[in-house]
């Protein structure tokens, strides 16, 4: 034991020159995401306008707060009709010291429903989220609330979680707790080269029926006028999402090659007081992305969404089918340039079109996470 101590002090002495560097670690991790694009034509249900534009410019700070909490702050700058909006997308604290593999998150954060929703937009393989996500979740649903997650003591991965949100970013209403979600996820490895994850989510939007009728009708019109991409344009009292992801990399070495297949199905019903049981929103997508060399990936995605647009006491059918093909080049971990072609076929959308997009996503600062 004494020998060990001697060694330790010797090590401490030799390490001493680096302490100046380590003091730096008290600063939070800072990361900036630059996202810019050129888009040939306007498309339906899109948050990106034609021409040159900026997408989701993000500034993020994260750090352990103490030995029990960590925190994260993400501010997003977005342009809408040449007005720059500053939005807080994340401002949350999370516990790191809870027993039984429990974790609690509070503040503003991305809901964990579905596969894509809890991911940041810049991690995506395509310029925009699938049409079903854009319509039903406003691309990514985040709100103020509380989350409780539990990892079950099983030999495979099994997580259950529940969230309660203010709901103001889903639809307008008076409920204090407007949105509840529950979510479960399973996953594992099939072999050294293959792994998978499946999830089921349910989102309950209590504000659909929580208001006075007159007010509702009025606000509907109001909402259509300034539909600037934050809350989703299509909602229902119940939203169900099933997701499945499968990844393959030879020997699990995803540096060289990786194939990712993913798909989700979204279904929303009980759209408002006037809705019959036939009035539902539903949509799905399936995507295949193949990273065929360390710096190159190609992908194709097909998605559909069938929507009901509320017009007073009745609904109009809307349909959108979308096919995306993309090629991306990532010089390093921190820089990606993407070329994408999108083909839309629609019923009930005036602005559906085909378009070519060129996008860059660059990050500087802290190293991003490689989530599954």
């Amino acid at each position: 034991m004494k020998l060990l101590k001697n060694h330790a002090s010797a090590v401490a002495l030799t390490i001493f020159p680096f302490t100046a560097l380590q003091a730096n670690e008290l600063n939070p991790d800072v990361s900036v995401i630059l996202d810019g694009y050129y888009k040939q034509n306007n498309t339906a249900l899109s948050h990106r306008e034609e021409g040159f534009g900026l997408g989701h410019t993000e500034l993020s700070l994260s750090s352990p707060i103490d030995d029990l909490f960590e925190g994260r702050l993400t501010a997003v700058l977005e342009e809408h009709e040449s007005e720059t909006e500053l939005e807080l997308e994340e401002a949350f604290l999370q516990t790191t010291g809870m027993p039984y593999n429990l974790s609690i998150r509070g503040g503003r954060f991305l809901s964990q429903v579905g596969y894509l929703n809890s991911r940041h937009l810049h991690e995506d393989d395509f310029v925009e989220r699938p049409a079903a996500y854009r319509a039903l979740l406003g691309s990514h649903y985040f709100d103020d609330g509380l989350r409780l997650n539990l990892l079950l003591p099983t030999p495979f991965y099994w997580q259950i979680g529940a969230e309660a949100f203010d709901g103001g970013r889903m639809s307008e209403g008076d409920e204090d707790i407007g949105v509840y979600t529950v979510n479960t996820r399973f996953g594992g490895d099939i072999s050294r080269s293959q792994s998978w994850q499946a999830g089921l989510s349910y989102l309950n939007n209590r504000q659909i029926h929580g208001e006075h009728e007159e007010e509702h009708g009025h606000e509907d019109e109001h909402e259509e006028e300034h539909d600037h991409g934050h809350g989703p344009a299509y909602t229902g009292e119940n939203l169900y999402i099933a997701d499945l992801v499968w990844k393959w990399a030879p020997e699990g070495n995803n540096r060289q090659q990786q194939l990712t297949l993913s798909g989700e199905y979204l279904y929303a019903d009980d759209l408002n007081e006037d809705a019959t049981s036939d009035d539902v929103h539903k949509g799905w997508y399936a995507s295949a992305v193949y990273q065929f060399a360390p710096q190159w990936s190609a992908g194709v995605r097909y998605g559909e969404v069938d929507l009901k647009e509320a017009h007073g006491d009745h609904f109009h059918d809307q349909e959108l089918e979308e096919t995306d093909v993309m090629l991306a080049w990532s010089h390093s971990h921190f820089s990606t340039v993407r070329l994408q072609y999108t083909h839309q076929e629609a019923h009930g959308f005036e602005d559906a079109d085909n378009t070519v997009m060129l996008q860059y996503v660059m990050s500087f600062g802290a190293h991003g996470a490689h989530g599954f």
Partner: protein, 307 residues
């Protein structure tokens, strides 16, 4: 009454399960699984990566989250090697024993001084780690220090095994020192030798052996070899002096072979860590294998040292 007793027995059975079971060790890389396995051989070991994988690029996938959830200790390299996936894994596993600053998270690179620390780092330099080169597991002098620290850590987590751990540590160190003497003998023949590399994975061993790096196939650390960089390497005046091009198992060996065709330098595709197979069943055999492979190419081999 019967059901109540049954329930109680079940409850007690469940509660005592973790105590009876041996230690659960989560090793980020195979080298640390080997080292921990020597100190606590009966531990249940999960290895997050293999010699066929680039440890920088792993994803925090579900199976790893589940393994981290059940672990008593995680043994990792540190120095930002796992920066892309370990923090995410720790967050998702929500295992309060394994968090930065807790005894359950052991970083090998924190136990020894690293080579090439940088006062200034920016990303235009490539994937450079400010703490220094993290691939410390191939340094014959660093490993005993890391083993000391790991033994101490394991003993603090599992005090009832402390004497066994200490005994196994001493036995391992004796074997290690004997092997080290052999490597040292062979290193005498390697003096003045230079090699080409792809990334700095073998750096610590080469430095210990006094073998110089003539060129690196990566234009910047972490970037894959590019055509323009390979052409520049081809013009490198140090190139003809080199004895071989070393490539790790997980790397694409085509750039090395491209260069080999033009220079007739032999390509050594070598395990960068313990594979569990043939020549690299343990850290010790891995280092012996690497030293032997280099020794076979030594420019001035003498008859005595061949044995």
């Amino acid at each position: 009454m019967v059901s109540k007793r049954l329930f109680l027995t079940l409850l007690i059975g469940l509660a005592s399960l973790p105590a009876q079971a041996s230690l659960n060790v989560f090793a980020c890389e195979p080298e640390w699984a080997d080292l921990a396995g020597i100190l606590v051989p009966e531990a249940r070991m999960t290895v997050a990566t293999s010699a066929y994988q680039d440890p920088h690029y792993i994803e925090a996938r579900p199976s790893l989250i589940a393994a981290m959830r059940n672990a008593d200790i995680a043994v990792c390299t540190g120095a930002s090697l796992e920066a892309g996936w370990l923090p995410s894994l720790l967050r998702k596993a929500a295992n309060r024993d394994i968090q930065p600053g807790r005894p359950g998270l052991f970083f090998a690179a924190d136990q020894v001084p690293l080579h090439q620390p940088h006062d200034h780092v920016d990303r235009s330099m490539g994937d450079v780690h400010p703490e220094g080169n993290p691939h410390v597991h191939l340094d014959p002098d660093a490993l005993p220090r890391i083993a000391d620290a790991l033994a101490e850590r394991l003993a603090s987590i599992s005090p009832e095994q402390a004497t066994d751990i200490q005994r196994r540590l001493l036995q391992w160190k004796v074997r290690w020192n004997l092997s080290k003497a052999e490597w040292r003998d062979k290193a005498d023949d390697l003096k003045g030798m230079t090699v080409g590399v792809q990334h700095s994975g073998f750096h610590y061993l080469l430095r210990w052996l006094d073998v110089d790096v003539a060129f690196d196939l990566e234009p910047k650390p972490g970037l894959p070899p590019s055509a323009s960089h390979l052409n520049a390497v081809l013009q490198d005046p140090d190139l003809p002096e080199a004895s071989a091009i070393m490539v790790a198992l997980y790397q694409d060996d085509r750039p090395a072979h491209w260069l080999s065709e033009r220079t007739h330098l032999p390509v050594l595709v070598l395990p960068g860590t313990v594979t569990g197979k043939e020549a690299a069943t343990s850290l010790e055999s891995l280092l012996s294998h690497l030293v032997n492979e280099l020794h076979q190419l030594a420019p001035k081999q003498t008859v005595e040292s061949d044995g």
